[in-house]
Assembly symmetry: C2
Homo-oligomer: 265 residues x 2
């Protein structure tokens, strides 16, 4: 295997561009880093285009076993010099493994097929929050996430890292609120909105087995016209001085209330 | 009032140093930014040493009213040119207000006096997580947070921002696990540990009104020798592929289970 050592190699340049959202959308690819995420991508048979490795930086048997797995799966392995590798790596303490993976998204028909609990996010700004929501959604056995309108990108490096692999296990729908509400009219879709001001306590609502939890932006929450279209709107009562919680924390509290209703034992 | 326009002014230099943890600890001061946090600091009568303002950047009546409040409270106001202000400001879209505030911490006797629900964090690394935990703790009506050993600093700018003011409402104890366990032996302290592997479901445990929830680091959780010293250890059952949740999300799920037991209606 040839080792690439020039940081201006064309392939490396194209990988580096994947830090940019527009380039990710155009190429349909995103980059992941570290053993944990790469292990999850291989385990879930995510469409891996390239496994990029720097043998000098791979210190563990597990890291080496991942290279072996990728080879067996027929994935192209690209070997880099430490210098070339570091020109791609974002993380401190690099583990010598990167991968370029195909973005996989699905359509609304996947909700109809799979059912279960989904989250729809409208105008979430922080990719770390989005990743943490995906992680909690996976943790409670959810099915997928619907990314609406101006929300941050689930394939943003920070979102992918914060998801700790949930980006590969959760189905992802990219859509608009308009489409969501159109589709809700046509199909049996139960939509539960969230708000900091309504009176329905999130613990008092009976969540159906098939549902979408709709979450608004960090700064503004959901606009009233979206709340009007929901089948119910729930809120987390607060007892201190803050008037809201971190978005990912609030989503997790509600998601784990839902699962504890669905699986009471 | 004299306007400082030199970025190399000695006072400004000393403020700029507060970005560094060592300097914060030595001076006992930290810096906060933005109208929301400064409003909370004034409302809770946090010890504000200086209010720093750049009139050209203060666009709202609320911002101007905060300056008036600070003046009335006898707080020293420092006026900066836009250039000098930007040399201190960390945030994009600065609101023209900064403040230098005295770190306020308390001792363990405050737990005995106040009671209620406290969180103790051991070796938390991420200041954003710590701030979000403080925000959720305030939101559920908690009393305070105990920062153990190598944990990140609650007065770190990211922690302060993520706390959305909870850094002023929650009592803060800086201590070591050794001291915590010593003190637990002497006093009636109910300690509930958290783990990803034990079998006690967090929803099945009856949390007392006075208690400390002990949380370990993002990477490793709590060491077994700490778990042994807890009165109970709870876990959040997971149903997907991820083997843990984001630390702040997990803490929030348990904290809101506790409050829903304490205030069932």
């Amino acid at each position: 295997m040839k080792t690439i050592s020039s940081t201006s190699n064309e392939l490396l340049k194209s990988f580096r561009k994947l830090k940019n959202r527009k380039e990710r959308l155009e190429s349909g690819l995103f980059m992941i880093e570290g053993m944990r995420l790469i292990g999850e991508a291989l385990r879930t048979r995510a469409g891996m285009e390239y496994l990029i490795t720097c043998p000098e930086l791979v210190k563990s048997d597990y890291g080496r076993s991942l290279i072996g797995q990728a080879e067996k799966a027929g994935i192209e392995i690209i070997q880099l010099s430490p210098n070339a590798f570091m020109s791609l790596a974002a993380k401190e303490g690099p583990q010598g493994l990167l991968a370029v993976v195909v973005m996989q998204t699905v359509g609304f028909e996947e909700y109809a097929r799979l059912g279960g609990v989904w989250v729809a996010v409208d105008s979430i700004q922080d990719p770390g929050n989005l990743g943490s929501v995906m992680r909690s959604l996976d943790g409670m056995g959810g099915s997928g996430i619907i990314i609406l309108d101006e929300s941050t990108d689930p394939f943003h490096p920070t979102a992918v890292r914060a998801s700790t692999g949930a980006v590969f296990t959760q189905k992802i729908i990219l859509s608009s609120t308009e489409e969501l509400f159109e589709w809700k009219k046509e199909e049996q879709v139960h939509l539960v909105g969230t708000s900091c001001t309504t009176s329905q306590n999130y613990r008092k609502y009976n969540y159906p087995e098939r549902m979408i939890l709709l979450i608004g932006s960090e700064q503004k929450g959901l606009p009233p016209e979206y709340l009007d279209k929901c089948d119910a709107v729930v809120t987390i009562p607060l007892y201190g001085s803050v008037d809201s919680l971190n978005l990912a924390c609030a989503a997790s509290i509600i998601l784990f209330e839902i699962i504890s209703q669905h699986k009471p034992d």
